[in-house]
């Protein structure tokens, strides 16, 4: 960063809410499109599904870049610290819990809940992400409390 460059100003909460609303609208449109046309048989349906998810992720990622450029360096440091320590810690806790509940062969196992294999994979992926986000949120709050 050029030390002489003019810093960007943080955006207001209203701007962020508008951005979130925009991403949600785009996600709904893309989801509706994928739901309507993604069940087509053959490669066409697969391509539509892949393109829809890619488009939604691209919009969300572009929004993230825009948001990241609008926050100052302490806020970035808080997010980086929280994502590394909180996200990693949350992921570790989630993996321990989910693995323990899945690999057991008795009635406490989650492996026998009636879900298909693809459902279990997607559920596991989202479950680990939720654990990461939970750890990240806690660590982010801790960072700001420590730096007040």
């Amino acid at each position: 960063m050029n030390p002489g460059s003019k810093p960007r100003r943080p955006y207001g909460i209203g701007t962020y809410l508008l951005m979130l609303l925009g991403v949600a609208v785009v996600g709904a449109i893309v989801g509706g499109f994928a739901g309507a046309f993604g069940d087509m048989p053959g490669p066409a349906g697969l391509a539509i599904t892949a393109a829809s998810i890619t488009a939604a992720m691209a919009v969300a990622f572009a929004a993230c870049i825009w948001w990241w450029r609008g926050i100052d360096e302490a806020a970035r440091e808080a997010h980086k610290w929280a994502w590394w320590w909180g996200g990693s810690g949350g992921m570790a806790a989630g993996i321990v819990l989910l693995t323990t509940l899945t690999v057991r062969g008795d009635e406490t196992s989650l492996a026998d809940v009636g879900l298909s294999v693809p459902d279990l994979i997607v559920t596991g992926m989202w479950a680990v992400l939720l654990f990461q986000l939970a750890g990240y949120s806690v660590a982010w709050a801790v960072w700001w409390l420590k730096h007040r």
């Binding site: 960063m1 050029n2 030390p3 002489g4 460059s5 003019k6 810093p7 960007r8 100003r9 943080p10 926050i71 100052d72 360096e73 302490a74 806020a75 440091e77 700001w144 420590k146 730096h147 007040r148």
Partner: protein, 64 residues
Amino acid sequence: MNNRLKVLRAERDWSQADLAERLGVSRQTVNALETGRYDPSLPLAFRIARVFGQPIESIFLDTE
């Protein structure tokens, strides 16, 4: 790392929000800097030095 941000700001009768506006950061960041719990990047340290018209080493004090 200690710094003289709070003193320099008080000498100019600026609020944390005033300084934050001049630096292009949030008030929370100024607060974290003043309490010595967050060390700024070099670009931000240069901006701080420019805002106060003083060299970096007269604002930030190496405690080691």
